[in-house]
Symmetry: C2
Subunit: 148 residues, 2 copies
DNA sequence: CCATCAAGCTTGCATATGCAAGAAAATTGC
DNA sequence: GCAATTTTCTTGCATATGCAAGCTTGATGG
């Protein structure tokens, strides 16, 4: 039914907005990271050699290439990210997650999990959580390289 | 389980991002509206007298009051929104959805539903859609005045 | 009543982000 | 092998948004 689909899309966007808003404050205050920066580190951590070309990051995060350029700069400056040239293609500039970056990410993931626990704290049985997980995964079928 | 909660939170954010990114392009091209503007019109349409104080809009949309001020201005200029003073409290400036605004919103909702249909087009039975709807509603329990 | 504090809104400044143009390098077509 | 096209990345400009300060109006306490 179209109506249910529309309702679901609205609910999906609203609940994600609420979650993201909750995360944003805690993240910047506690870890000095924006939610988007957190996602960027996460994509890198889960990639081979902890690195990705900028274009690939842009696609996965649904942002423009220029945004990646500008997001990386300050994180590189504080040592969470590094850069790696590709021997075969001089156009490529890999973004690399450093050890320091992995450590920071690990801290942020703790906060993330805590918030996730808070969101699902009430009225959710294990079965429902698993069911929700399954349905969300199905929704992510169209997304290349999902994080989870 | 904490792990499932964390996975669900990640999936929720990623799938919402993907949906929002898909909507954004079509929305601005076809209707001259951003996704956030669409949500603003939607909140107004579903309120008494099609109007809300700016502070209330800010809370519901998880944005700052200044953002509301600046989002409303251009929409007011093109006649989609109007303003209403409160007789009792001169501080309040209601944002009102005009007839023209309702018409524009209706068009945008068609696009929204089409996109929602696209997202859920495959592999989703009616039962699964209903189940997902139920779980998302539960997630929205903590959100005051959800849109759906 | 007046003084103080709180609430709603707007504005200045800083940051974030997209688009379009440009630079450098790789690929394609002939 | 060279010109034209495509790809990757960066930069200039415009828009979007948050925070803090300021303004106006209400509420509160004495």
């Amino acid at each position: 039914m179209t109506e249910t689909q529309t309702t679901n899309a609205l609910r999906l966007l609203q609940s994600a907005d609420a979650l993201r808003a909750g995360l944003a404050g805690e993240f910047s205050a506690v870890h000095g990271l924006s939610v988007n920066e957190f996602f960027m580190l996460l994509h890198l951590e889960r990639s081979a050699k902890h690195r990705l070309p900028r274009v690939e990051l842009a696609k996965r995060m649904h942002v423009s290439a220029s945004t990646i350029t500008r997001m990386v700069a300050p994180l590189e400056k504080i040592g969470l990210l590094g850069r790696d040239a590709d021997a075969r293609d001089a156009r490529l500039v890999f973004v690399v997650l450093t050890e320091s970056g992995r450590a920071r990410l690990a801290e942020a993931q703790t906060t993330f999990s805590k918030r996730a626990g808070y969101v699902f704290r009430d009225r959710w049985s294990d079965a429902e959580l698993a069911q929700f997980s399954e349905l969300l995964q199905r929704l992510l079928a169209g997304v290349p390289e999902p994080l989870a």
